[in-house]
Symmetry: C2
Subunit: 591 residues, 2 copies
């Protein structure tokens, strides 16, 4: 090999950079062009390699892993359409702030667009969905080139996990020979020496803190406003929730806690945490009665359609949206929206501290009691309707007895909505995730299994279309003996459409529900999984208990009927609506 073009040394420096950037896991799909990357990553004790074959599943596997551990995961693919299979996961990672370092092997410039095999244009392959794209130089160990490769490895890893986290893409033009020469001596090695020592991250972010004068004005506004609410969107960090709750207690504001805010399941139970709002805000009368005077909102929009609708009806109520970066996440285009771009935790602390002259703890609590009472009504109805095994009771049950330390991944469409409706805030500690960047039904199995490598015991609840969509994802559980419990809500089709106006269309079953009629037990066996079908709540509990203590994969199928499911949901909602309306009447009469 010519001096100065040692591909192995060049890529070794890049991998050293990844290690120095804190990479501990790499999800790799086999390929020829990517050979030196695969081998050099496998060669590092600091990095655990996870092999996958379907790049789409691999992408989501890495996403779930990165989400669960909160730090960057590397994803490697060879050249060609293989790389395009990462697109769905890259889009989801971009929209949900998940740190991925996507590394694609490519043909060198002289073999592009000239009819050479397995070449596609990988430059900016993921368009605007990555935080950075680097078209890396062809291998060189000339002046400064080893430093350059090392710096990009470190930078990609660090950039991906800098706020807001997200995917970074490096495309490597690689030449033959592809098998790295690990024996060569006298190779220019990068020391990987970090300037501030091993324990210091490469990117030191000074915390953001609002000017104290502005903070004081915000505090005054809140303390002068008795009827305020806090809307807590998706948030991964339990630390933040402590600060948020302290502020809520001080202001005696109810906290409308999205199920993915972790507030309903992070061990800090408080009556101010309202989790039944999706049910009771369906009633227009309730929304009018609960109209607040100020809205303090954190993070992304909540899952609940009816909370979104309420926010729309309250769009002239002063709303303060706190976010790490000002992303204008407000589909209502509320007239009274303001954004505070800052670290949410420190803002909560600053707002909760301050002077004690107007101690809001002394507030009557009349306002928050309205919310608390309605929350009780919602869950009384859930308990009444929760009889027997159905899609709703699955979530209600899990909320009651999923063991501390469990992790729950939830599919999109109906499961996330059922989570919202049926998961009552509880004292248990369960981490809850869903792919809510783009709310796709794709990649859910892989995401959950990826998360299971960093948190567990893991339970995934999803519908049959979503299960089918990422059936390939089960391979990871087979290859790596990952313990996981999948609760399959099998209503043979797209259950959510039965709730929508589409359900009255001719050819509804064919065009929207699309029943697959698949006996999943066969496919699950192919992946060495255990499959059980349960018909009663008792069976469900028994099988869950057995599975949570077991190794490997268990799929617990809960057969469901789409029409009956809609009826039970509607019965619940109308019961909640009726009782809420009655309660308001009594309340007003008593007042």
């Amino acid at each position: 090999m010519a001096e100065g073009t040692d591909q192995t040394a060049y890529l070794q420096a890049f991998v050293q950079g990844l290690v120095d950037g804190g990479i501990k896991d790499a999800v790799v799909c086999p390929g020829s062009r990517s050979t030196p990357l695969t081998v050099l990553l496998a060669n590092r004790d600091e990095i655990r390699l996870w092999m996958e074959v379907d790049e789409r599943s691999a992408g989501f596997f890495a996403l779930g892993m990165a989400k669960a551990q909160g730090s960057s995961v590397v994803l490697v693919a060879s050249s060609g359409t293989a790389t395009a299979n990462y697109y769905p996961a890259v889009v989801e990672a971009s929209l949900s702030d998940v740190p991925l370092v996507v590394i694609t092997a490519d043909r060198p410039p002289e073999l592009r667009d000239v009819g050479a095999p397995q070449v596609i244009d990988q430059v900016k392959l993921f368009s605007g969905y990555v935080k950075a794209f680097a078209e890396m130089a062809t291998a060189s160990t000339g002046d400064g080139m080893v430093d350059y490769a090392w710096a990009w490895g470190r930078r990609a890893a660090e950039m991906a996990r800098s706020e807001p986290m997200g995917p970074v893409h490096c495309n490597f033009p690689l030449r033959d020979p592809l098998v790295p020469d690990l024996e060569a001596t006298g190779r220019p090695m990068h020391s990987g020496h970090l300037p501030l020592g091993d324990k210091m991250p490469g990117v030191l972010l000074a915390p953001r803190r609002l000017d104290s004068e502005i903070t004081n004005r915000l505090r005054e506004l809140l303390e002068e406003t008795a009827n305020g609410i806090i809307v807590a969107g998706i948030h991964p960090a339990p630390d933040f929730n402590r600060d948020l709750l302290a502020l809520a207690r001080r202001l005696q504001y109810p906290v409308l806690a999205d199920p993915l805010s972790q507030l309903r399941s992070d061990g800090t139970q408080d009556r101010l945490i309202i989790s039944g709002y999706d049910a009771f805000l369906r009633e227009p009368k309730v929304r009018a009665w609960l109209r607040p005077d100020v809205i303090l909102r954190f993070g992304p929009m909540p899952v609940s359609k009816y909370l979104t609708q309420a926010l729309n009806e309250w769009s002239d109520v002063p709303q303060i949206l706190v976010d790490k970066i000002a992303r204008w996440r407000d589909p209502n285009h509320a007239r009274a929206l303001n954004i505070v771009e800052t670290a949410p935790s420190s803002l909560c602390r600053d707002l909760a501290e301050g002077s004690d002259t107007k101690d809001s703890v002394l507030r009557s609590g009349d306002w928050s009691r309205r919310w608390i009472r309605l929350d009780e009504i919602a869950f009384e109805s859930v308990a009444a309707e929760g009889d027997g095994l159905w899609e709703g009771s699955v979530m209600a049950e899990l909320a009651r007895w999923l063991p501390d330390g469990s992790a729950l991944y939830v599919g999109n469409s109906m499961p996330i909505r059922d989570l919202d409706t049926f998961w009552k805030a509880s004292r248990g500690f369960v981490r809850i995730w869903a792919n809510r960047g783009a709310n796709g039904i794709d990649g859910v199995v892989s995401s959950a299994l990826g998360a299971s490598t960093k948190a567990g015991p893991l339970v995934l609840v999803l519908g049959d279309l979503s299960f089918y969509h990422d059936f390939n994802g089960l391979l990871a559980s087979k290859l790596y003996h990952l313990p996981a419990t999948i609760v399959l809500l099998n209503n043979d089709g797209g259950g959510i459409f039965s709730f929508l106006p589409q359900s009255s269309l001719p050819r509804f079953e064919e065009l929207f529900a699309v029943p697959l009629g698949l006996d999943f037990s066969l496919g699950v066996s192919m992946y060495d999984g255990k499959f059980v079908r349960v018909r009663t709540l008792e069976q469900f509990r028994e099988q869950m208990e057995a599975s949570l203590g077991a190794k490997g994969l268990t799929v617990i199928e809960v057969p469901s009927d789409r029409e009956q499911n809609v009826r039970r949901h509607r019965a619940l909602w109308s019961a909640v609506g009726r009782q809420a309306a009655g309660m308001i009447e009594n309340w007003e009469q008593e007042a």
Copy 2:
């Protein structure tokens, strides 16, 4: 609904345009945002709807269908990551000239990038991989807007199938209500009246024809050069092959026929059609002995790595590349390359006609006999090594007795190479396809099943990794009872890597071969398919025969051992090399 914003009328006009543009099939994935598109397409008798759930498989299903019928197929997805799942198929369609009209439903501008659910940036989602992207207007029936929608429907369908064919993408911002109002009267309907009548296409392409003076000079060059070869790359059109063969006979040039040129299997048998070159061009001595004086090449680069290498060694030999458009498909950057951008058929006819003063039929044929003899040697070795059931003999067998009118889809990695090595030109008529735009192992099952809707009986030969990758693709066979035979060459891993230098690396099995250990019989049952495992050639023949006459899906698994497979291939190649070298020696002595 406000006058002038009738979404149904607007989309009806677009769908009318699709019909007028010749669309007959639409592959639709269910979704909420895409509801009006789905319903309005379903409403047209002219269009057959195919429902799929996994968009990635759906994309390849449409690709196979469009490839087999040679005209545009519509592909519909709802908003979100669903659309990104089309990326691999769109890339492949772009690189292999397959006409797709990709229609994605999107949120309207006011709901983009504001935290609304299931919204991703779909503008130019497929980057440079589409021939055209249209960000459609929001629905309007105002001045000229119905004409605009109609025109784009027609244009998208026509553009996709204009040469070079490829994918076109229309993104539709759609507002609630999504359920179309089919009962409304007084709606502005587009007549769909075509200016030149129903039978005339919307885009009339004047044929390209080289200036006769230049044609004459090319003819002279070829007629003066006895030792020329024709390299026929991937080409879908049997019509062209007749013209090509007439020219070859006139010039007495051997035709190195890529298996995807259809020349080996389009019923026009001729000794000039050389199909064993991948085996005998491995020998450097043979490449030197066969050095031509002119190369006439058609279409994309051939599959064969050794033909590519030979072309590289002959890069100073005048080479005339004929292509529909000048795409510089030459990874060798040959010094002596020239490109003729024209319709290949008419050029062949023009070159073959001309004056008869130098009738090349009178040539001695010594040159072409060299090639013909080597071709015989190659297939004598194939016959000798073809004993018993192994990966190589599967292709040799199929070449011998696949019935006339069959269609063969071949997976990438080893199956396409085995096709190249073992498929001897024969008198039978079998259409042969593979995804050779980007040579991915993804989407192959769906591509084949898509093709099966337009051609058949269909046989798909692929390896286990590729089968696993698009296992979801089997759903189409279940939903639509598609008759298909899948020959699964199961060597439990990536067989091609055993042929590469990677095979000597430590941890080869883990990092490259990646054996999955899947019992596919279980998964195939899930899709109502029949699964048989065969151990002998006789069993293989019997099961193939039974399957070709049967309805529905049959998977015939041929278990294979990777190491043994490599040994048998190498034995074959070395036998060919040995005998070729001996033959050359004799030939030279006799001369």
